[in-house]
């Protein structure tokens, strides 16, 4: 399993069931580019436990608006469609792993 890039059209369906981790980012955002590979690794390690998606806020401003996102990278955890936790900014892998794991 890897991190799948999605947009507004697929979003509701993607987060509808189970644990979903969504990375809101933009191509020109340095910290986002650094967080990307960390999430890739975690998506492999947590395969079967959580699904991983990425959303470009530049292409999907309505999603950023919906979740009141004011800074990126912004990683949200959804449980059956409901946002249960958020992490703003870059964090090293162990901290990001702990953030996701505590929501499993």
């Amino acid at each position: 399993m890897s991190v799948k890039q999605i947009g507004n059209a697929e979003f509701a369906d993607a987060i509808s069931s189970g644990i979903t981790v969504v990375d809101f980012n933009a191509t020109w955002c340095g910290p986002c580019r650094m967080l990307g590979p960390v999430l890739e690794e975690l998506s492999e390690e947590l395969e079967g436990k959580a699904s991983f998606y990425a959303v470009d806020v530049d292409d999907n401003p309505e999603l950023a608006q919906t979740y009141g996102i004011a800074s990126i990278p912004y990683v949200a955890v959804f449980k059956d469609g409901q946002k249960v936790d958020e992490q703003i900014g870059f964090v090293p892998k162990p901290a990001l792993s702990a953030f996701i794991t505590r929501n499993l």
Binding site: C29, G30, M34, P37, V57, A70, I72, G89, K93, A95
Partner: protein, 298 residues
């Protein structure tokens, strides 16, 4: 800058230079990142009386001696500012403007020039307060933002933000209106940018909007950007453990992040040149053993 370095040394005061000298002696592939003019704190010191071997030396002369040492050892300074250091797991990625450099280990020796936070800043960071206009500009399409610039070079980010936002209020805290033109034409002639000469005092969130309290009263917007010359160590390196605003280190100058070491004023008092130089040496030796163990494990 190319490939992955063994050690990236951030800072060109006595701690960074001492670390670079040791890294050179130990034949490591390293980067020394900072200012070609070393450190203002050294250059502007009146006289330094307790640096062994250099009795009663003026700061400017110590700076010249340090430069000479770098020349003799053929160590080059990469003149730049490091914006962020990312702990990627088995290596570190350093953001320098729009470029990235990679190193197996990092020595943080950038001093304590970071200013105090504004009241309300920390709790609203990422929730209406941002340090990175290029990161978050996309979220301000059709919105209003206040940008506080602490140095003239931050004007570029205000202009970038104004391309997307409806309105940008720019506060150049580095200048005073009475002393003539402060901001460049790209700011003053930009129809979307309004320049205000004042000082920011505090930040609060009110009815979903961000309020910046200033000497000119309240400024209400969708978001506040604080663009500072230097940031606190745990903002420079996300995940880094600090204590009383200084980087927490052990006797080997190791931090809580494996492979990241700190030296000099950034680790706390006493703020002394000779203490900084000693810590730089220790940090470099620790980084060398870390890198050696890492490469043996490959």
């Amino acid at each position: 800058m190319d490939g992955r370095y063994d050690i990236a040394i951030i800072g060109t005061g006595p701690a960074g230079i001492s670390a670079a000298i040791t890294a050179k002696v130990r034949n490591k592939k390293f980067l020394l990142l900072g200012s070609a003019f070393l450190s203002d704190k050294v250059t502007k010191a009146h006289r330094i009386q307790n640096y062994p071997g250099l009795p009663d030396i003026p700061g400017a002369e110590l700076a010249e001696k340090l430069q000479e040492h770098l020349r003799v050892m053929d160590i080059a300074i990469t003149d730049c500012r490091v914006n962020m250091v990312y702990a990627m797991g088995s290596y570190y990625s350093l953001q320098i403007g729009q470029d990235f450099a990679e190193a197996s280990s990092v020595i943080l020796a950038s001093g304590v020039s970071f200013g105090k936070m504004l009241p309300g800043e920390d709790e609203n960071l990422g929730r209406g307060v941002s340090y990175c206009a290029t990161c978050d500009a996309a979220l301000y399409k059709g919105k209003e933002a206040v940008v506080v610039g602490y140095a003239p070079k931050e004007e570029a980010d205000a202009v970038f933000l104004a391309e997307l936002a409806d309105k940008v209020t720019y506060i150049p805290v580095y200048g005073k209106e009475e002393s003539g033109p402060v901001v460049s034409q790209r700011i003053s002639e930009n129809p979307k940018i309004d320049v205000k000469y004042t000082k920011p005092e505090s930040i609060e969130k009110k009815d979903g909007k961000m309020v910046l309290h200033t000497g000119l009263g309240e400024m209400v917007s969708d978001g506040i950007f604080l663009l500072r010359e230097s940031v606190a160590p745990d903002r420079l390196v996300p995940g880094l453990e600090v204590e009383d605003r200084h980087v927490k280190v052990d006797r080997k100058m190791a931090t809580n992040l494996p492979g990241l070491f700190a030296a000099g004023d950034i680790t706390g008092t006493p703020y002394q040149y000779v203490k900084a130089a000693g810590e730089g040496n220790t940090a470099a030796l620790s980084a060398v053993s870390y890198v050696d163990v890492l490469s043996r494990g490959k």
